[in-house]
Amino acid sequence: MGWTQKILRVNLTKGTCESEPLNMQWANDYLGSRGLATKYFVEETDPKVDPLSPDNKMIFATGPLTGTASPTSGRWTVVCKGALTGAIACSNSGGFFGAEMKNAGWDMIIFEGKSAKPVYLTIENDQAELHDAGDLWGKSVWECESELLKRHGEEGRVASIGQAGESGCLYAAVVNDMDRAAGRSGVGTVMGSKNLKAVFSRGTVGVKVKDPMGFMKATGAAKKILAENAVTGEGLPTYGTQVLMNVINELGALPSHNAADVQFDGAAQIGGEAMHAKRETDGKANLVSNAACFGCPISCQRRSQMDPNHFTVKDREKYHIVSGGLEYEAAWALGAATGVSDLETLTFCNFICNEYGMDPITLGSTVAAAMELYKVGAITDKETGGVSLTFDSPQDLATICEMTGKGEGFGKEIAMGSKRLCEKYGRPELSMTVKGQEFPAYDPRGIQGMGLTYATSNRGACHLRSYTVASEVLGIPEKTDPHVTEGKAGLVKAFQDATALVDASGTCIFTTFALSMEDIAPQINAACEGDWSTERCMEVGERIWNMERVYNNAAGFTGADDTLPQRLLKDAAKTGPAEGLVNKLDEMLPEYYSLRGWSADGVPTSETLGRLGL
């Protein structure tokens, strides 16, 4: 229960779709989604596999709570070896696709092999079929999704890749419901390498739970907490994640101009409040409304509409729509990181990411790195083909983002990500990456715990593996000082384990601004067979984290990869409350390894593995 107990295995080489029972022992040990899919992945895939080889598998996964009445139960994940990183990848998305797939009766879809020609998969309850996608190849996410809904039914849901995933952009996203994305680590690139264009899903089977009355009680209690909590009941619905732009800037932790600075003069022009303000040009606000994913009472999504006369979209009607607007990470990467403070340009570039299927964090950070390479003369108009890449320029940003989506000119080099780009042009230190993935919108010089978070994240630098900002900035669940390292090792470990469990459940990490594990475990316990105590949930989270680590170590990563860009470790913050600080990773990492039960060089000990049943 909770689980449908069915997996769809799609062999793209053979063109077959077969149903098989879920391994319930693994479900009991790894719960679902991120945890269970990764268990299947590591059992079936060689850690040394080339991410773009047919032997790299890709798994679409739901959790036991996905598609149920649990609040925020629209979450689903894509697990594979990341094209950008070569590390374990698990990208999490919202919207409605995951719930639709679960309601069709599938816990997971395992894609293996590679199709000889472009195909797409349709699922209508227990019927699964591969179709020729020759006429869809080359189309954008928006075009592909519209066509598949027209072809197979408007009540269905679609997850697809755009041109970026087809052309090998290393940070291509899998986009569902037009503008929700499994965005990080290049999971869309892996999908494209398999010649798989899209998945259409329609489900009317429903999801059963173990104890319906108990489930309604537990989920009802959680909904009440979310509604009554000031952050999830009011703050996030009204201002979304974008309200953080001014907060983080004021704290002196907003990386700007490729992290040369920690504050950005244009922050107020691109933050959540600016999205509410009426434009001088047409008297309308950028923000049209908020919106919710499946089963979500928080509704933090932004829906935006651009000024139709803005230089990026003038006479281009397809961009005059209301669509997924800027979230904080995208606004930071496309804006503060590049120095661009024009909200409309950032909205356009975000639309481009959704349309062509790209991760805006890696795109924005890579453009910022390119702008610094251009500034210092490591690349010139000769390399860029005459394209200017000047910090602070909306025109340059819009041009290169669109070229990257289309795979044109120097955009093909931006599509490599900043690590490969900066190495190619002899300045590897200008790439703001860990394990090949660009770090997001929190500068570890001003928020120390985020340095450890980025350095130890199993999928490369990421804020969503242990969001210590909640504690270090917002005081949730309790306030810690962002400038000190003491206690951060334990904080990061606790956040990592709890986040892994929430991801595995099929619900949204944003619930944890209001809910504790004591509120989440009863929902799992009422949905799933067995006894799901708080303690068991935390142990599952820890098991998932260690499983991912073991896979990465087998893939060739070592403790030496648990580091940060030298800029964060050597160049002190120039302004703000953190002025004079660097990130003191060396003060946190040994304690973190010790708390994890890992050796001094970052390898889980046999005792730890034994304790966790790994």
């Binding site: 201002y239 600016a274 005081g475 000082d481 409350p577």
Partner: protein
């Protein structure tokens, strides 16, 4: 003495008309002013003052009562918010 009061999100409506920018008002306040007294004087709803920073540094509820604002300081206040 002159200080800066920065208000964000739903608290922006409590800014005076003559603001320095979208979020900031320059105010003349007496010596010894505390953030808590400032919140009271500006008639800000105390329960909505979720995050209070003095020159970018977080103040606990207790510190808001006792910390004295100095000439040129910036007090920034947000209602309950979060992100990710």
């Amino acid at each position: 003495m002159n200080i800066k009061l920065k208000l964000y999100a739903s608290l922006m409506r409590y800014l005076p008309d003559d603001v320095a920018d979208r979020h900031t008002a320059v105010l003349n306040v007496p010596e010894g002013m505390t953030p808590a007294k400032l919140i009271e004087d500006r008639k800000l709803p105390k329960e909505s003052c979720f995050l209070v920073l003095l020159n970018g540094v977080y103040l606990t509820p207790a510190e808001r009562e006792t910390r004295q604002i100095q000439e040129g300081d910036a007090v920034a206040i947000w209602p309950p918010i979060a992100g990710g």
